[in-house]
Protein backbone atom coordinates (compact mmCIF):
# COMPACT_ATOMS: atom_id res chain seq x y z
CA UNK A 1 0.00 0.00 0.00
CA UNK A 2 2.83 2.39 0.92
CA UNK A 3 4.60 1.64 -2.35
CA UNK A 4 1.53 2.46 -4.37
CA UNK A 5 0.82 5.73 -2.62
CA UNK A 6 4.46 6.85 -2.76
CA UNK A 7 4.74 8.19 -6.30
CA UNK A 8 1.14 9.36 -6.21
CA UNK A 9 1.81 11.53 -3.19
CA UNK A 10 4.99 13.13 -4.54
CA UNK A 11 3.26 13.95 -7.77
CA UNK A 12 0.60 15.85 -5.89
CA UNK A 13 2.87 17.76 -3.53
CA UNK A 14 4.89 19.05 -6.47
CA UNK A 15 2.89 22.21 -7.37
CA UNK A 16 2.14 23.11 -3.73
CA UNK A 17 -0.97 25.24 -4.31
CA UNK A 18 -3.35 25.91 -1.42
CA UNK A 19 -6.43 24.61 -3.24
CA UNK A 20 -4.65 21.50 -4.14
CA UNK A 21 -3.49 21.06 -0.56
CA UNK A 22 -7.06 21.17 0.68
CA UNK A 23 -7.90 18.56 -1.87
CA UNK A 24 -4.91 16.56 -0.74
CA UNK A 25 -5.96 16.76 2.92
CA UNK A 26 -9.38 15.60 1.96
CA UNK A 27 -7.90 12.79 -0.04
CA UNK A 28 -5.59 11.87 2.81
CA UNK A 29 -8.48 11.86 5.24
CA UNK A 30 -10.45 9.58 2.95
CA UNK A 31 -7.51 7.28 2.46
CA UNK A 32 -6.77 7.16 6.15
CA UNK A 33 -10.34 6.18 6.89
CA UNK A 34 -10.11 3.46 4.27
CA UNK A 35 -6.90 2.20 5.81
CA UNK A 36 -8.51 2.15 9.26
CA UNK A 37 -11.41 0.14 7.89
CA UNK A 38 -9.12 -2.31 6.14
CA UNK A 39 -7.02 -2.68 9.25
CA UNK A 40 -10.06 -3.25 11.43
CA UNK A 41 -11.40 -5.87 9.05
CA UNK A 42 -8.05 -7.60 8.82
CA UNK A 43 -7.51 -7.54 12.56
CA UNK A 44 -10.95 -9.03 13.12
CA UNK A 45 -10.22 -11.73 10.58
CA UNK A 46 -6.89 -12.46 12.20
CA UNK A 47 -8.43 -12.55 15.63
CA UNK A 48 -11.04 -15.01 14.46
CA UNK A 49 -8.45 -17.15 12.77
CA UNK A 50 -6.34 -17.19 15.88
CA UNK A 51 -9.30 -18.10 18.03
CA UNK A 52 -10.29 -20.86 15.68
CA UNK A 53 -6.77 -22.22 15.68
CA UNK A 54 -6.64 -22.08 19.46
CA UNK A 55 -9.91 -23.91 19.93
CA UNK A 56 -9.06 -26.49 17.30
CA UNK A 57 -5.46 -27.06 18.25
CA UNK A 58 -5.29 -28.05 21.88
CA UNK A 59 -2.29 -29.64 23.53
CA UNK A 60 -0.71 -32.50 21.61
CA UNK A 61 -1.79 -34.99 24.23
CA UNK A 62 -5.38 -33.75 24.09
CA UNK A 63 -5.32 -33.95 20.30
CA UNK A 64 -4.06 -37.54 20.41
CA UNK A 65 -6.72 -38.64 22.88
CA UNK A 66 -9.38 -36.86 20.86
CA UNK A 67 -8.46 -38.43 17.51
CA UNK A 68 -7.90 -41.92 18.84
CA UNK A 69 -11.13 -41.90 20.82
CA UNK A 70 -13.00 -40.80 17.69
CA UNK A 71 -11.50 -43.65 15.71
CA UNK A 72 -11.93 -46.32 18.35
CA UNK A 73 -15.49 -45.23 19.02
CA UNK A 74 -16.35 -45.71 15.34
CA UNK A 75 -14.85 -49.19 15.20
CA UNK A 76 -16.34 -50.22 18.55
CA UNK A 77 -19.82 -49.04 17.64
CA UNK A 78 -19.59 -50.83 14.29
CA UNK A 79 -18.50 -54.06 15.94
CA UNK A 80 -21.18 -53.75 18.62
CA UNK A 81 -23.92 -53.12 16.07
CA UNK A 82 -22.76 -56.04 13.94
CA UNK A 83 -22.66 -58.34 16.93
CA UNK A 84 -26.14 -57.25 18.03
CA UNK A 85 -27.52 -57.78 14.53
CA UNK A 86 -25.98 -61.24 14.40
CA UNK A 87 -27.50 -61.98 17.77
CA UNK A 88 -30.97 -60.83 16.74
CA UNK A 89 -31.10 -62.03 13.15
CA UNK A 90 -28.88 -65.07 13.44
CA UNK A 91 -26.75 -64.05 10.46
CA UNK A 92 -23.53 -64.88 12.22
CA UNK A 93 -20.80 -64.05 11.29
CA UNK A 94 -21.70 -61.73 8.41
CA UNK A 95 -23.16 -58.90 10.45
CA UNK A 96 -19.97 -58.59 12.49
CA UNK A 97 -17.77 -58.63 9.38
CA UNK A 98 -19.78 -56.08 7.43
CA UNK A 99 -20.45 -53.73 10.31
CA UNK A 100 -16.90 -53.82 11.62
CA UNK A 101 -15.67 -52.66 8.23
CA UNK A 102 -18.40 -50.02 8.04
CA UNK A 103 -17.50 -48.94 11.55
CA UNK A 104 -13.91 -48.61 10.41
CA UNK A 105 -15.10 -46.30 7.64
CA UNK A 106 -17.13 -44.31 10.14
CA UNK A 107 -14.10 -44.09 12.42
CA UNK A 108 -11.94 -42.68 9.63
CA UNK A 109 -14.74 -40.26 8.78
CA UNK A 110 -14.86 -39.16 12.43
CA UNK A 111 -11.10 -38.63 12.49
CA UNK A 112 -11.14 -36.64 9.27
CA UNK A 113 -14.03 -34.53 10.51
CA UNK A 114 -12.43 -33.71 13.81
CA UNK A 115 -9.04 -33.10 12.19
CA UNK A 116 -10.78 -30.67 9.86
CA UNK A 117 -9.76 -32.37 6.62
CA UNK A 118 -13.38 -32.83 5.62
CA UNK A 119 -15.19 -29.58 6.06
CA UNK A 120 -18.62 -30.21 7.49
CA UNK A 121 -20.17 -27.37 5.53
CA UNK A 122 -19.01 -28.77 2.20
CA UNK A 123 -21.03 -31.92 1.57
CA UNK A 124 -19.50 -32.44 -1.89
CA UNK A 125 -15.97 -32.94 -0.61
CA UNK A 126 -17.05 -35.13 2.27
CA UNK A 127 -19.06 -37.36 -0.05
CA UNK A 128 -16.25 -37.74 -2.49
CA UNK A 129 -13.88 -38.75 0.27
CA UNK A 130 -16.42 -41.12 1.78
CA UNK A 131 -16.88 -42.69 -1.63
CA UNK A 132 -13.12 -43.02 -2.12
CA UNK A 133 -12.74 -44.71 1.20
CA UNK A 134 -15.46 -47.21 0.54
CA UNK A 135 -13.82 -48.62 -2.54
Amino acid sequence: MANESGPDETGKTGPGKSGERAFRDDDLERRRRQLAETLAARRQGEGEGERGAKSGETTGYGQAVKLSSEFIAGVAVGAGLGWAIDRLAGTSPWGLIVFLLLGFGAGVLNVMRSAGVVAQVDPKASDKNAGDRDN
Partner: protein, 249 residues
Protein backbone atom coordinates in the same frame (compact mmCIF):
# COMPACT_ATOMS: atom_id res chain seq x y z
CA UNK B 1 -3.21 -49.01 50.33
CA UNK B 2 -2.51 -45.29 50.24
CA UNK B 3 -0.22 -45.91 47.28
CA UNK B 4 -2.87 -47.71 45.28
CA UNK B 5 -3.64 -45.36 42.38
CA UNK B 6 -7.05 -46.92 41.74
CA UNK B 7 -8.32 -46.55 45.28
CA UNK B 8 -9.44 -42.97 44.72
CA UNK B 9 -12.09 -44.14 42.25
CA UNK B 10 -13.69 -46.51 44.71
CA UNK B 11 -17.40 -45.92 45.24
CA UNK B 12 -18.64 -46.31 48.78
CA UNK B 13 -22.21 -46.23 49.97
CA UNK B 14 -22.87 -43.41 52.39
CA UNK B 15 -26.57 -44.06 52.92
CA UNK B 16 -27.68 -47.50 51.70
CA UNK B 17 -31.13 -47.31 50.08
CA UNK B 18 -32.81 -50.18 48.31
CA UNK B 19 -36.11 -49.82 46.46
CA UNK B 20 -37.74 -52.84 44.87
CA UNK B 21 -34.54 -54.85 44.69
CA UNK B 22 -32.62 -52.04 42.97
CA UNK B 23 -29.74 -50.25 44.58
CA UNK B 24 -30.52 -46.55 45.02
CA UNK B 25 -27.84 -45.91 47.61
CA UNK B 26 -26.55 -42.42 48.19
CA UNK B 27 -22.87 -42.92 47.36
CA UNK B 28 -19.85 -40.66 47.57
CA UNK B 29 -20.29 -40.11 43.84
CA UNK B 30 -23.81 -38.78 44.40
CA UNK B 31 -22.54 -36.67 47.29
CA UNK B 32 -19.98 -35.00 45.05
CA UNK B 33 -22.54 -34.49 42.29
CA UNK B 34 -24.72 -32.69 44.82
CA UNK B 35 -21.67 -30.74 45.96
CA UNK B 36 -20.92 -29.78 42.35
CA UNK B 37 -24.45 -28.55 41.74
CA UNK B 38 -24.58 -26.70 45.06
CA UNK B 39 -21.17 -25.09 44.51
CA UNK B 40 -22.07 -23.99 40.97
CA UNK B 41 -25.45 -22.57 41.85
CA UNK B 42 -24.20 -20.92 45.03
CA UNK B 43 -21.32 -19.32 43.16
CA UNK B 44 -23.46 -18.01 40.31
CA UNK B 45 -26.23 -16.94 42.67
CA UNK B 46 -24.11 -15.13 45.22
CA UNK B 47 -21.81 -13.42 42.73
CA UNK B 48 -24.65 -12.03 40.65
CA UNK B 49 -26.96 -11.09 43.51
CA UNK B 50 -25.51 -7.59 43.93
CA UNK B 51 -25.87 -6.91 40.19
CA UNK B 52 -23.43 -4.02 40.14
CA UNK B 53 -23.21 -1.99 36.95
CA UNK B 54 -19.48 -2.02 37.51
CA UNK B 55 -18.95 -5.71 38.25
CA UNK B 56 -16.86 -6.85 41.15
CA UNK B 57 -14.20 -9.46 40.47
CA UNK B 58 -16.37 -12.44 41.27
CA UNK B 59 -19.29 -11.02 39.37
CA UNK B 60 -17.14 -10.57 36.31
CA UNK B 61 -16.05 -14.21 36.59
CA UNK B 62 -19.62 -15.41 36.38
CA UNK B 63 -20.31 -12.93 33.59
CA UNK B 64 -17.28 -14.30 31.77
CA UNK B 65 -18.65 -17.83 32.08
CA UNK B 66 -21.95 -16.64 30.63
CA UNK B 67 -20.32 -14.75 27.78
CA UNK B 68 -17.98 -17.63 27.02
CA UNK B 69 -20.73 -20.22 26.65
CA UNK B 70 -23.06 -17.79 24.89
CA UNK B 71 -20.51 -16.87 22.21
CA UNK B 72 -19.52 -20.51 21.80
CA UNK B 73 -23.13 -21.52 21.21
CA UNK B 74 -23.81 -18.58 18.91
CA UNK B 75 -20.74 -19.35 16.81
CA UNK B 76 -21.57 -23.03 16.44
CA UNK B 77 -25.36 -23.08 16.14
CA UNK B 78 -26.34 -19.52 15.25
CA UNK B 79 -28.79 -17.34 17.14
CA UNK B 80 -31.45 -20.05 16.77
CA UNK B 81 -29.36 -22.23 19.04
CA UNK B 82 -29.67 -19.78 21.91
CA UNK B 83 -32.81 -21.54 23.12
CA UNK B 84 -30.46 -24.34 24.19
CA UNK B 85 -28.33 -21.95 26.19
CA UNK B 86 -29.56 -23.09 29.66
CA UNK B 87 -28.85 -26.69 28.71
CA UNK B 88 -25.34 -26.09 27.38
CA UNK B 89 -24.48 -23.71 30.20
CA UNK B 90 -25.53 -26.15 32.93
CA UNK B 91 -23.68 -28.97 31.18
CA UNK B 92 -20.52 -26.90 30.82
CA UNK B 93 -20.61 -25.66 34.41
CA UNK B 94 -21.35 -29.12 35.78
CA UNK B 95 -18.46 -30.75 33.96
CA UNK B 96 -16.09 -27.88 34.70
CA UNK B 97 -16.88 -27.68 38.40
CA UNK B 98 -16.90 -31.48 38.78
CA UNK B 99 -13.47 -31.68 37.12
CA UNK B 100 -12.01 -28.90 39.24
CA UNK B 101 -13.53 -30.19 42.49
CA UNK B 102 -11.97 -33.54 41.74
CA UNK B 103 -8.51 -31.98 41.76
CA UNK B 104 -8.69 -31.25 45.49
CA UNK B 105 -6.90 -33.86 47.56
CA UNK B 106 -9.19 -36.54 49.01
CA UNK B 107 -12.05 -35.42 46.79
CA UNK B 108 -13.87 -37.80 44.50
CA UNK B 109 -13.87 -37.08 40.76
CA UNK B 110 -17.38 -37.58 39.46
CA UNK B 111 -16.37 -37.43 35.79
CA UNK B 112 -13.79 -40.20 36.15
CA UNK B 113 -16.58 -42.79 35.97
CA UNK B 114 -17.67 -43.65 32.48
CA UNK B 115 -21.29 -44.17 33.44
CA UNK B 116 -21.56 -40.52 34.52
CA UNK B 117 -20.00 -39.14 31.36
CA UNK B 118 -21.98 -41.59 29.24
CA UNK B 119 -25.21 -40.44 30.88
CA UNK B 120 -24.29 -36.84 30.07
CA UNK B 121 -23.46 -37.75 26.46
CA UNK B 122 -26.70 -39.71 26.08
CA UNK B 123 -28.54 -36.66 27.41
CA UNK B 124 -26.94 -34.55 24.67
CA UNK B 125 -27.63 -37.01 21.86
CA UNK B 126 -31.15 -37.63 23.18
CA UNK B 127 -31.84 -33.90 23.09
CA UNK B 128 -30.50 -33.72 19.54
CA UNK B 129 -32.66 -36.64 18.41
CA UNK B 130 -35.86 -35.52 20.16
CA UNK B 131 -35.55 -31.92 19.08
CA UNK B 132 -34.51 -32.85 15.53
CA UNK B 133 -37.48 -35.13 15.01
CA UNK B 134 -39.83 -32.64 16.70
CA UNK B 135 -38.72 -29.75 14.53
CA UNK B 136 -38.09 -31.42 11.17
CA UNK B 137 -40.09 -34.64 11.43
CA UNK B 138 -38.59 -37.24 9.16
CA UNK B 139 -36.69 -34.50 7.37
CA UNK B 140 -34.19 -34.88 10.18
CA UNK B 141 -33.06 -38.12 8.53
CA UNK B 142 -31.56 -35.99 5.74
CA UNK B 143 -28.67 -35.61 8.16
CA UNK B 144 -27.62 -39.11 7.16
CA UNK B 145 -27.93 -38.60 3.41
CA UNK B 146 -25.32 -36.18 2.12
CA UNK B 147 -26.10 -34.57 -1.22
CA UNK B 148 -24.24 -35.35 -4.41
CA UNK B 149 -23.46 -39.01 -3.75
CA UNK B 150 -23.66 -41.36 -6.73
CA UNK B 151 -26.77 -43.52 -6.42
CA UNK B 152 -25.04 -46.85 -5.84
CA UNK B 153 -23.04 -45.55 -2.93
CA UNK B 154 -25.97 -44.03 -1.07
CA UNK B 155 -26.81 -47.05 1.14
CA UNK B 156 -23.15 -47.48 2.05
CA UNK B 157 -22.66 -43.81 2.88
CA UNK B 158 -25.89 -43.73 4.87
CA UNK B 159 -24.79 -46.75 6.91
CA UNK B 160 -21.42 -45.15 7.58
CA UNK B 161 -23.05 -41.86 8.57
CA UNK B 162 -25.42 -43.70 10.92
CA UNK B 163 -22.55 -45.52 12.61
CA UNK B 164 -20.63 -42.26 12.80
CA UNK B 165 -23.65 -40.69 14.48
CA UNK B 166 -24.01 -43.53 16.97
CA UNK B 167 -20.32 -43.35 17.80
CA UNK B 168 -20.69 -39.73 18.88
CA UNK B 169 -21.93 -40.32 22.43
CA UNK B 170 -19.30 -43.06 22.81
CA UNK B 171 -16.39 -40.86 21.81
CA UNK B 172 -17.82 -37.88 23.70
CA UNK B 173 -18.06 -39.82 26.95
CA UNK B 174 -14.88 -41.86 26.54
CA UNK B 175 -12.82 -38.74 25.90
CA UNK B 176 -13.86 -36.97 29.10
CA UNK B 177 -13.66 -40.15 31.16
CA UNK B 178 -10.26 -41.22 29.81
CA UNK B 179 -8.73 -37.80 30.32
CA UNK B 180 -9.86 -37.51 33.92
CA UNK B 181 -8.97 -41.12 34.77
CA UNK B 182 -5.51 -40.99 33.19
CA UNK B 183 -4.71 -37.62 34.72
CA UNK B 184 -5.67 -38.66 38.23
CA UNK B 185 -3.82 -41.97 38.01
CA UNK B 186 -0.66 -40.22 36.78
CA UNK B 187 -0.92 -37.69 39.57
CA UNK B 188 -1.37 -40.40 42.15
CA UNK B 189 1.51 -42.50 40.82
CA UNK B 190 3.94 -39.59 40.93
CA UNK B 191 2.74 -38.56 44.38
CA UNK B 192 3.26 -42.18 45.45
CA UNK B 193 6.88 -41.98 44.25
CA UNK B 194 7.45 -39.09 46.63
CA UNK B 195 6.18 -41.10 49.59
CA UNK B 196 8.09 -44.29 48.77
CA UNK B 197 11.34 -42.47 47.92
CA UNK B 198 11.38 -40.41 51.09
CA UNK B 199 11.07 -43.63 53.11
CA UNK B 200 14.58 -44.57 51.91
CA UNK B 201 16.43 -42.08 54.11
CA UNK B 202 18.39 -38.91 53.34
CA UNK B 203 19.28 -39.82 49.74
CA UNK B 204 15.68 -40.72 49.02
CA UNK B 205 14.41 -37.45 50.47
CA UNK B 206 16.83 -35.51 48.28
CA UNK B 207 15.78 -37.55 45.26
CA UNK B 208 12.08 -37.16 45.98
CA UNK B 209 12.30 -33.50 44.99
CA UNK B 210 12.08 -34.58 41.34
CA UNK B 211 8.76 -36.45 41.52
CA UNK B 212 7.42 -33.69 43.79
CA UNK B 213 8.21 -31.09 41.12
CA UNK B 214 6.60 -33.40 38.57
CA UNK B 215 3.48 -33.67 40.74
CA UNK B 216 3.19 -29.90 40.95
CA UNK B 217 3.62 -29.59 37.19
CA UNK B 218 1.06 -32.32 36.51
CA UNK B 219 -1.39 -30.64 38.88
CA UNK B 220 -1.10 -27.46 36.82
CA UNK B 221 -1.58 -29.47 33.65
CA UNK B 222 -4.61 -31.16 35.17
CA UNK B 223 -6.24 -27.80 35.83
CA UNK B 224 -5.74 -27.02 32.16
CA UNK B 225 -7.15 -30.41 31.16
CA UNK B 226 -10.13 -29.96 33.50
CA UNK B 227 -11.06 -26.74 31.77
CA UNK B 228 -10.19 -28.00 28.29
CA UNK B 229 -12.31 -31.12 28.57
CA UNK B 230 -15.31 -29.15 29.83
CA UNK B 231 -14.79 -26.79 26.89
CA UNK B 232 -14.48 -29.62 24.36
CA UNK B 233 -17.60 -31.29 25.77
CA UNK B 234 -19.57 -28.05 25.46
CA UNK B 235 -18.25 -27.26 21.96
CA UNK B 236 -19.17 -30.70 20.66
CA UNK B 237 -22.60 -30.36 22.29
CA UNK B 238 -23.05 -27.11 20.39
CA UNK B 239 -22.02 -28.76 17.13
CA UNK B 240 -24.42 -31.66 17.59
CA UNK B 241 -27.22 -29.25 18.49
CA UNK B 242 -26.39 -27.43 15.27
CA UNK B 243 -27.06 -30.68 13.43
CA UNK B 244 -30.47 -30.87 15.09
CA UNK B 245 -31.27 -27.30 14.09
CA UNK B 246 -30.00 -27.50 10.51
CA UNK B 247 -29.87 -31.17 9.49
CA UNK B 248 -29.31 -30.55 5.74
CA UNK B 249 -25.75 -29.30 6.44
Amino acid sequence: MSNDPIHQFHISKLIPIEIGGYDFSFTNSSAFMVATVVATSAFLFLTTSSRGLVPSRLQSISEMCYEFVASMLRDAAGSQGMKFFPFVFSLFMFVLVANILGLFPYFFTVTSHIIVTFALAILVIGTVLVYGFMKHGFGFLKLFVPQGVPGILVPLVVLIEVISFISRPVSLSVRLFANMLAGHITLKVFAGFVASLSALGAVGIAGSVLPLAMTVAITALEFLVAFLQAYVFAVLTCMYLNDALHPGH
